[in-house]
Symmetry: D2
Subunit: 328 residues, 4 copies
């Protein structure tokens, strides 16, 4: 198929290349002309503006927008809606907030355009492993784009099948290849958002566990209850047949194998919108999200040196008990 | 009544003085001779050793031990058990772990001694306001000591009565004066322990709330959504008819009135055993304690600059997304 | 002063009566004619429509809207903006989301109207105790309305002054009477919102603590470590000089004095918007809110019998360990 | 090697069989004679008592105890210590609390015996996949037992190597085969304990995430913001290249493929000691464990229908606001 890739950063360029490798044709556009040139060098058709992009596709056109969520995506999609003809397809492949998708899909529908949102997981590894994709949009359009998604997905590979799927009808076979149609527009990014919420929780569980392992050598403990544990080997052994083996553990094992003290990291941890939006969604649904929220808050806390709230605790303790702060 | 006060630190000396003011006689002992002399100057009978203490009381003797929990209390009570005669009473007025009380009370019973544990709240303010006391031990002994407890308690004072107690039989009238017999030995410190667990939770709720108020002036927010709030006046107004008025809020209002920025505090917050023991008790009972544990953990977190777990989060993020840490 | 009270439910009627008792004149309106008649019987001027309300006030008019947050408040304020003349004042005394205030205040400004938001705490008790008020709006308008707020506030009363305020300049003396001007429009409801967030946290701290006390009689514990505690007397004694005394504890003591088992309650706990909005605000500010969020989630959890997530835990345990669910 | 397997339940028998398949000789003992006979049928030497076990091994003997933690393990190891000769080895392969190991290892040392604790992960799947083992004990003894551990471990298999281990010296190659020597006695069970603590956290992260996905179809949401998601396919697609792929997700995908509603589960989730001990360890080390504790508490909460604490919340709300409980 022939489609435009708008936004040729690491992810956009990677997706474009993977698609070309699978025989698709790419019209590439980015405000950074060097990025366009680089992709053109790999066989893409370069474009100099959104209008030029449109001119270089045949209708119904396929525009894949791969830009940072928020203003860049919003303004580009707005511009595309003005340019596009009835029947054209706009794909938002970034990390948009799903309610923005719902709104934009409605606007697209009013102009007889199709809107598809694609949440992708896999990080920079997706370029080689393939992308795990969660796709929202109308069924006809998502089906029409299937060759693109199949090319991007990791495929069945060597991952063992899920036993209970084998003898069951009605399972979407695309799931086994690494992509699914999740429902109407917005649902792709919603599912991806929850994926990231879970990711935060999983990461924090490992983080706390390794903190407990590391703390076991603390001299605040009785001497015969201390262990000086090899975290590198522990992470490695847990990859082998343990209940908590996972890809995040694989990454942890690799990081620890490089430097068991992780001294190159300060531990100030960023968060993107998805973690927060997941808590918002939980609150809208009245679903308890203790772990997912605690994982998010741990990141906030990692970025401040001493909270005002902590000072207030000290002030209260001084107030009722004359306690001065601990010297530690 | 005549009793010994063993341990004449701030709390022990204060309790002894309050008792003498109410007409009780005190034999005072401390390893620090100056503390003994000071109390003797106020009318106490000085003692030079535990044996001397015993000699200066008539049987059945009353020993009030007011020492740091752990070894000092343990060794002193052990020594007293060896010295005491059948029928004597040992009171642990410190912050002991209630299971230690249960064990020591059993040992005392085997020697025909009486063991009473007194949990006290009120901090340094108790010296003037009176102490809120939770008392464990056998009923006959606790009743016999009633004049002592009544003298120490704040009394009915100006606190309005609880409406539903007025027309109800079976309520312990001591509760309205500020002390209760909670049950067998150990129960006094158990109830005091949970009191402190709750205290941690209350404090953390205020801490987080004031953090949110303070953060509302952050320039990470849209300009028209920022407020530069006067935390001092907010704390004060909440003391006046709001649902969240409390003594801890009174203390907060006072601290904020002195320095709204709380700049004299580093925010490294200590914790004593009670917070931890409360979580232990919750786990033994399989009771969810999300808030009480989070309040405890916030104190732990306040005392480290960057956890190993946080570094592991950064390492994982680098692993899957090539994310470098945020500059902030 | 003369002002309109629009919305004569329990709160609106109570505020109107308290104002009339303090010599203010009220024009009362409600869709429920009986509520209007009842207030007229107490001396208010009845009105039959918003237009009638406007006709019965002299400019600059004061409209106090006391309606449920959301649509009722929104549509009424919109209608008032169309009716009002330049210089008129619209007060939202309900539980609005502060961002709605910011938006409405901006719209009001564009029409040369003044918008004031009043967050009130004190619940049904405020009718007799007076209301604790947090007021947002432009200074001139808030100052002009001072007689109204002073009449509604509890006043200095018998609450002891905060020591550090006594010898300090620059403290807002209104705070000691129970109301403050918090800043621009929206800030009143924002501060009230955080107040409620804290309220949730405080309540949950007590709830967990009493759960631990109650669970101590559980037969899952070793027999010599069980206590059958009198929760009614414990709540009462903690009102007397303890660190955790508070108005919420007073209410708890009263409820427990009526029925120690609290058997008349199912324990399905509602939440209003403020708890959730506080978490939203915390996330916007990147402030950790472990306790406030956990308190909110506990309410969500109280309203479901068994979560899907819990079933998934059981399914995983069966998957890796063949564990069947516990019979309990 | 020749060793005794004491305790022939599912795990003990499975381990014994796997060892025999790898050429080791087993003396089998269990209070259940049928279990002994069954294993004898597979080639083991049956024993009728611990003394008989000892008689059928040559010194230095190897006793592998595979019994429930607590009394059964404790009393058996005590009996073995009395029977054993200097130089004999006692292995505790169960789920013991690591402080019990430390104590027992000390007692063993005083009798010139060797004590080894083996924490195993892998659940019932370990019988076919091999067991991931964390082993505590003195180096000489653990090294001597290496053929046993290597036989039980999953081996390198098809799991890709950790890149940073390849070009690094000093990494324990046993880790890549699925077992490690963690340090002194007790450390094996300690590491396994933290493993389980992490496991709780991971499971709860998935549980909350799927709860949010499922709740997205709730009719409490605006109609155009609802999605009716296929959880079965979502779990499957996340196995394929996503950041949150893991063995626990594999199990979830399988359970959901069997029944997307998980209707056969009540959602009352048990917990074993390890989750609680991990929180204890965190508190001893002053390490924040928000997520691990919340995961534990969620299990507690899953097993009660309505907590006393929730009732107290309702009672307070009635007290301050006259709120009656929600009908829902």
């Amino acid at each position: 198929m022939r489609l435009a890739m708008i936004g040729l950063g690491r992810m956009g360029a990677g997706i474009a290349r993977r698609l070309m490798e699978h025989g698709h044709e790419i019209v590439g556009f980015d405000h950074n002309a060097e990025a366009v040139d680089a992709l053109a060098g790999d066989g893409a058709t370069p474009a100099t503006s959104l209008e030029d992009v449109a001119a270089k596709l045949q209708t119904p056109r396929i525009f894949w927008v791969m830009l940072p969520a928020g203003d860049p995506t919003e303004s580009t999609i707005e511009a595309l809606m003005a340019i596009a003809d009835a029947g054209d397809i706009i794909i938002d492949g970034g990390n948009s907030f799903y309610k923005d998708d719902i709104r934009r899909a409605k606007a697209a529908r009013e102009r007889s355009l199709h809107y598809v949102d694609v949440g992708t997981s896999g990080g920079v590894w997706g370029l080689s492993r393939g992308f795990c994709m969660m796709i929202g949009g109308d069924t006809e359009t998502v089906d029409r784009l299937d060759p693109i998604f199949e090319a991007l997905a990791p495929g069945v590979g060597t991952i063992p099948p899920t036993p209970n799927r084998l003898n069951r009808e009605g399972c979407d076979t695309r799931a086994e290849k690494g992509y699914i149609h999740t429902g109407d527009a917005g649902s792709g990014h919603f599912v991806k958002m929850v994926h990231n919420g879970i990711e935060y929780g999983l990461m924090q569980a490992y983080a706390e566990g390794f903190d407990v392992l590391k703390g076991k050598s603390s001299d605040r403990l009785p001497e015969d209850e201390r262990f000086d544990l090899n975290l590198t080997d522990i992470a490695e052994v847990w990859r082998r047949g343990s209940v908590i083996s996972s890809w995040l553990l694989d990454l942890s094992a690799d990081a620890l194998a490089k430097d068991q003290m992780l001294d190159s990291y300060s531990g100030k941890v960023a968060d993107s919108g998805e973690g927060r939006w997941t808590i918002d969604a939980a609150m809208e649904e009245a679903v308890p999200a203790y772990v997912l929220s605690a994982a998010l808050f741990a990141r906030y806390r990692s970025r401040v040196e001493g909270t005002f709230g902590d000072k207030l605790l000290s002030a209260m303790r001084f107030g009722f008990g004359g306690h001065v702060e601990m010297p530690q």
